[in-house]
Homo-oligomer: 715 residues x 2
């Protein structure tokens, strides 16, 4: 890519960004769009649809930017939870890293690269048609002493990243503890999920559990709830809900001229009156069915050998969690209970062995998907190489020779296609994680986050950089000693692709703001009246967003030494992301669960990985550049980095897994004399009842907060 | 190697074995040798030195064999502990495996190999001069359908090994639980080692510990003992002990004509009278010094931020052990306490970070030692190749041409040298494990056992099989995909070396019986009267014996398919080992600690490793033998094996790490009303006092059971 193509791309994307920002500021002020742009505030009752129209509403203004910027971290924590704070801190952390990196890169490394004469084109004229390669390390002469600047930069950036990682980990672990100390008593703090309960003949599951815990935890055991296999019942309730919603809609539109005859343009052949009667009849049948099943569920609904066991103190629950309960380690297996509305009920039907096997199968499936995803990536790669494309599709020759078209194709299209392909993966990985046997939505998303992360790093970096076929990818692992050299050879060749990719991603970030699909859905739904129009605030999909951001962190660190030109663009990416996601978290996304910052260890580990990869590549680069001394002197760097990683694992990771005896007992004692605790314990006893077994009247269908969550993955 | 060389070796070794067995049966009956051959019984007071001499004592008899054979496992458990039972069960397990393997190998695989005509020498005449290669799989024609017999054998043996592994794991874990239930209250069950105790200014360490546990474990906390840095004091006590012993010896020999003038032939210039006075003076000075230090130790002896914390119940101790105590995970770190006499005191001086770093350094050192050990191995390998040796050392040509000499050199010497070199390694690895920061002798030996195991597998198998330089060894890891083929090519070439090695090992096993070094030491000591003659029963060095046996398990499994001729020899090895070690455990070794069978997981994991290696090699063999279908059909085998391994890890490994709440509470309750418990708790409070801080009078020096153990590693 030459400089002019880059400038074109930057121009297009900056323009698009400004356009999208302006569009958003206009669209969000339209009364009709309130449910698209501030659904969270609507659900929370902080915003209402007004029917007044102002001319002012058609002028873009930056008020939302100011608001997103000014909100303090404590406000964010209070309204969106620690997970949102952790998410935003990824941007802050990255911004800090790349401020230093960009400073070093632009003022020290870039001039050195440019004035190096390996590529022998150091005249200042005609900057536009210069290849971007002139700004790469490739332009520095082999064996030049200027390379020691790059060497020092590798040490400096490692130091900076490690220092920042340490302080972030410390900060977030403190926040996590603070949040725990400040929290009201929560059911999940007092509850443990027990699976693999052995069945004794002549004794019900409930009695077995009761007698076991009365025997071994008599002073802390409070109650338990046996899990039932309610998939069928849930299906019935869902049907009833759907019919109830349609019925309500039909009845609520008496003045709609269409409704007297026809419901909507899809229901062409249905008479409204008949429909109401028909729906009412079906609803009654279903409700009767549900009631029958619920009333006799102890006989008809199968029990699963799993239960939620509640304790009288947090410390009691933690003791049961930490100490292996039974002599046989695969019986009475305990797990931390998720929040009641975070429980993923369908998965409780699996046994220990089945969950274990499916976990292994899912790992294999994820790896296969990750590797076979190469095909679309290879196609995209072909696009960046215009000549290859011309040979492949000769009939496009004429079009490709128009300079704008070719610049768009090489500069913009590949990244766009890649991003579309990437957007399919998170849902697939989430399905995998679901099959894996996680008992909570948060667990599913955490597990999916790791899967998507490795997928993204593999296909967004390795597959692109190392090119070629699936076999040549697998080769990498079979010949690990060659990794530094392979990276050193291939990574620089893809520098311009990644610069273009980063620039394009500005637009895709801004698209997040305008929520095009939700907007279209709202319009179509509003026009036709046929879609489910009930307002639900979406929740943040951390498992797709976090890996996406971490990919940029990886790219930035890798290209820091090679091609510092990329750094300002990455810095802009993180700035845009920071402001947009703050806005979205405050206005759009309603947190579905609270893990207490458990996503941060994933971020930490991935950053360490990026750092070590950068160091390995630097090792290869200095060898290729005939500066073997620098190569050897780099060797302590990964060792120290990994030692630092090991220390952080020991120092901080346990904080994110459980709370210590000290913390739990302090918290328990602070509430010992609280009169509200009895009421809480009464509620606790029923907190983990399966929502599908609770008797429902029709009014609950509409505002039931739990059920939609529980079904959201089944569909 | 040809058949006649093998027969020579078998002859020599069988002869030596019988000779050693006979010699042992004679020597052990000599009254003077009682302290060499039944030291354990002497220490326990079950055997006494008699001065009567019978002519019968000079005739070998197999009485000891019968006794060793007839002792039941329960008797062994009662007198030697579970670790000894586990050790003996390695032989039983291996015997079972190789009975099946030898049956399959000798009656099915061997005939197939022999009648294969790849090497085209299938006449029956002159069996003596046949190369052993005729019995190898190499003799089967490429692509022959007979290879399917080998293929089925791989499946059968995997099934058999997995079944036996499962039943052994189950059996031993049950034994472990039984032993726990049957045990009297033991200090280590009630105690936890706490390290990384934060220091508060203005508050002594002891007060900090007391207030912390009174705060967070008020109902179960009993007492604690702060650890002191007593290295200097221990040095003084050791000196005092040595002098006291010499003094006692001097005084106890008034009628010895030498003692009036000269103590012994080393003390040529010392008069006995002066010596007694001199020693008495020095002893008094030392004792005074020790007493001074002990009385004022709270001021003079530095405290270490570590303590033994005792609890009122096993469950209480386990709770403190399992639940992270402090908000900061690297403070108040807990560990299971070892038995009081198993504590390795010198190591308590290290902080968390220092222990962690030294652990990493030790890992690096162990790997380096393992890899650099190649040099002696390469030398030994040269010996098996006679022609190479002739070129290397031309002056030996004449000698090497004598057939007996050459047969001894190729058949016997290499293995002997290898075994001598191998015997140096366990002590080195034990020193490494000591530096690593284990707080108990048993922990040190367990950790050394793993190190020696990997060392043995690497240098006793990989280095020999894969030959060549250090680089070519490291290559293996850098190109892991080639492992099956490399193994398939190189392993068969070393078959005759390993047959010779197994045969030689019969003799080295039998040497264990005669305890040559101890016998010589006893004789020299007895003659000169100059050595410390105080009787101490040695303890079993599991960390050197277990890896040695597991190497034979590996060799047997690897060569099962390739060269089944080795199997009967291995079977004999395990039979000899079984009987010898039973005898030695009953008569010679006094258990120094009881880990409750914690060595078994090492055995299990190593066997799984051997199995997977065998499968990988079989995969390579079938590819080389042009039977690709068999290769592909072998692929599920390692997968299933690893799944089985994963299941066993989940099912059994936790049992070997801690006891469950169920177990602990049951055991606690069974003793709740035992009147002896108060007395036990009183003893418990002082059980973990540093022995060097206890006031000592001289009579304690001689029969102090603890101190020699504590010093045994420092020297």
């Amino acid at each position: 890519m030459i400089v002019s193509a880059l400038l074109t791309s930057v121009g297009i994307n900056l323009g698009l960004c400004v356009l999208l920002f302006a569009l958003y500021s206009v669209l969000r002020k339209q009364p009709g769009n309130i449910e698209v742009y501030v659904p969270r505030l609507v659900v929370e009752g902080k915003a209402q649809r007004t029917r007044e129209f102002n001319l002012e509403d058609l002028l873009p203004n930056p008020g939302w930017l100011r608001k997103a910027w000014q909100t303090s971290e404590d406000e964010l924590l209070a309204s969106c939870g620690l997970d949102a704070v952790v998410f935003i801190r990824i941007f802050i952390f990255s911004f800090k890293v790349f401020s230093v990196a960009a400073g070093l890169g632009m003022f020290i490394l870039l001039p050195i690269n440019y004035f190096g004469d390996q590529l022998r084109e150091t005249d200042f004229t005609d900057l536009q048609n210069k290849s971007l390669d002139l700004f790469n390390i490739s332009n520095v002469k082999d064996g030049s002493n200027w390379l020691w600047a790059h060497f020092s930069a590798a040490y400096v950036i490692t130091g900076v990243v490690c220092y920042l990682l340490y302080s972030e980990y410390k900060y977030i672990s403190l926040k996590r503890l603070e949040q725990f100390y400040a929290s009201k008593p929560l059911p999940q703090q007092y509850t443990v999920v027990v699976t693999g309960i052995p069945s004794h003949s002549g004794c019900s599951l409930s009695d077995t559990i009761e007698s076991f815990f009365m025997e071994y935890h008599p002073s802390t055991y409070l109650s338990h709830v046996v899990v039932h296999r309610t998939n069928k019942l849930r299906g019935l309730i869902r049907d009833a809900e759907n019919i109830y919603k349609r019925l309500t809609r039909l009845r609520s539109r008496p003045h709609n001229p269409a409704s007297s005859e026809r419901n909507c343009f899809f229901g062409l052949f249905g008479k409204s009156k008949d429909l109401v009667q028909d729906y009412s009849k079906r609803l009654e049948d279903l409700e009767e069915n549900v009631r029958q099943q619920q009333s006799g569920y102890s006989k008809t609904v199968e029990e699963v050998s799993a239960a939620f066991v509640c304790f009288k103190s947090r410390y009691g629950a933690s003791t049961a969690l930490r100490i292996q309960l039974s002599e046989n380690p695969i019986e009475w297996v305990t797990e931390q209970a998720p929040e009641p509305h975070d429980v993923y009920w369908p998965l409780f039907s699996s046994s220990f062995i089945r969950r274990w096997i499916s976990k292994l199968l899912v790992i294999v499936a994820s790896i296969t998907l990750t590797i076979l995803f190469l095909l679309p990536v290879a196609f995209v790669q072909g696009l960046t190489n215009l000549n290859q494309l011309k040979t492949l599709l000769p009939f496009l020759n004429n079009i490709l020779e128009i300079s704008v078209v070719s610049q768009v194709i090489t500069g913009y299209l590949p990244s766009l296609i890649l991003q579309i392909f990437f957007s399919i993966v998170p849902p697939i990985m989430k399905i995998f994680s679901t099959m894996q046997g996680n008992i909570s939505l948060s667990g599913i998303e955490k597990s999916a986050c790791s899967k998507v992360l490795w997928f993204t790093i593999w296909n967004g970096f390795f597959a692109i950089v190392l090119t070629g076929s699936v076999t040549s990818q697998v080769q990498i692992f079979l010949e690990p000693k060659d990794i530094p050299w392979k990276l050193a050879v291939y990574v620089p060749t893809q520098a311009s692709f990644y610069i273009a990719y980063v620039v394009t991603s500005w637009t895709s970030l801004s698209k997040e703001l305008t929520r095009v699909i939700a907007l279209l859905g709202d319009w179509i739904g509003g026009c036709s009246g046929c879609f489910d129009n009930e307002l639900q605030a979406p929740s943040m999909t951390y498992h797709s967003e976090i890996p996406r951001i971490l990919l940029f962190l990886l790219i930035g660190l890798i290209y820091f030494l090679l091609s510092p030109l990329i750094l300002p663009f990455i810095l802009i990416f993180f700035c845009i992301g920071y402001i947009i996601y703050r806005n979205q978290l405050l206005n759009v996304y309603l947190p579905k669960y609270e893990t207490g910052g458990q996503f941060w260890p994933i971020v930490h580990n991935s950053t360490i990985f990026s750092l070590v990869l950068m160091q390995a590549m630097a090792f290869g680069i200095f060898s290729l550049k005939k500066l073997p001394l620098a190569s050897s002197l780099l060797l302590p760097l990964p060792v120290v980095t990994l030692l630092f990683h090991g220390y952080c694992r020991k120092r901080f990771e346990p904080v994110f897994q459980t709370f210590s005896a000290e913390t739990l007992i302090k918290k328990d004692r602070s509430e010992q004399n609280d009169p509200g605790m009895n009421e809480f314990f009464d509620k606790l006893k029923t907190a983990y009842n399966d929502p599908s077994l609770a008797p429902k009247d029709r009014s609950q269908y509409a505002d039931d907060q739990n059920t939609p969550l529980l079904f959201s993955l089944e569909s």
